[in-house]
């Protein structure tokens, strides 16, 4: 993601507003989703501060990516980043405690398997979308 950000910063004079807005939306949404999911799964759930942290991370990702161009894209990026952060936090909470959603999973090993498989799947999707965006700079 840092690579994509540096490429954005370097080449931001080369393309128009619509291209920047589309790419900001795509990368912001999936990055904040993935980071919020990892944070929710990794951090201990006791402290009250950690409830807000994934949303803040999403907001900062969206703000940094969209601060490259003017104000409407900033709004778009902040909106998509906060949305992705909230959704990732929700998915992480459901994966940690499946009884929240009435999912009939009881054993501990099933919960752990679910967590690992969905986290790896999200990482694969993140890599795929980053690859598409980097490919679009070359084309």
């Amino acid at each position: 993601m840092t690579t994509v950000y540096r490429m954005f910063k370097k080449k931001h004079l080369l393309f128009d507003d619509r291209f920047t807005k589309t790419m900001c939306m795509a990368i912001t949404m999936i990055s904040s989703f993935a980071f919020a999911l990892y944070l929710e799964l990794l951090l201990p759930p006791e402290q009250r501060f950690f409830y807000i942290l994934p949303i803040l991370v999403g907001l900062i990702i969206g703000w940094r990516f969209s601060a490259i161009i003017k104000a409407p894209a900033t709004l778009n990026g902040i909106y998509n980043g906060t949305l992705g952060g909230t959704m990732g936090m929700m998915l992480g909470a459901v994966l940690q405690d499946p009884a929240l959603c009435n999912i009939p999973i009881v054993s501990e090993t099933m919960i752990a398997t679910n967590m690992y498989s969905l986290a790896i799947f999200t990482a694969c999707l993140h890599a795929l979308i980053c690859h598409f965006i980097r490919y679009s700079f070359k084309a």
Partner: protein, 136 residues
């Protein structure tokens, strides 16, 4: 059983609408194209997650993966008709809605009402898109 039939019907409607959009590709600008690929990718991912989790409630992980992949492929196919940017937009939107939709399917408590509601919404959406294609 009726849920699987509904799912089959939705997939057929989505494929038929894809062929219709592909035939009228010349009429559609990139703005309408972006809206079409966001709407259709999201609706296909939503139907896949909600209906499959009602039919098979014991396979949460597999249904999440399947609905994400199907939403991604649907958004990408609708988007690649127009532009590279609509392709990326439809793909991302399909991924995010496909990851979310099985959770909606598990927490609703009146499934039949919810199924009728989203199908009515889908038909309304299709009519809106067809009218705006005719006007373009």
């Amino acid at each position: 059983m009726s849920i699987l039939l509904l799912l089959y019907l939705d997939i057929m409607i989505a494929i038929g609408f894809y062929l219709y959009v592909r035939n009228n590709k010349r009429l559609i600008g990139f703005q309408l194209g972006m809206n079409i690929c966001v709407a259709m990718g999201g609706m296909v991912a939503l139907f896949m997650g909600v209906l499959l989790i009602q039919q098979f409630p014991f396979h949460f992980t597999w249904i999440t993966i399947i609905s994400t992949l199907v939403g991604m492929v649907a958004g990408a196919f609708y988007g690649i008709l127009f532009d590279y940017q609509t392709f990326v937009t439809g793909l991302t939107n399909g991924v995010v809605i496909g990851l979310m939709s099985p959770m909606i399917g598990t927490i609703i408590d009146m499934p039949i009402v919810f199924n009728w509601f989203i199908h009515g919404f889908f038909i309304l959406l299709l009519f809106t898109i067809i009218i705006s294609i005719k006007r373009a």
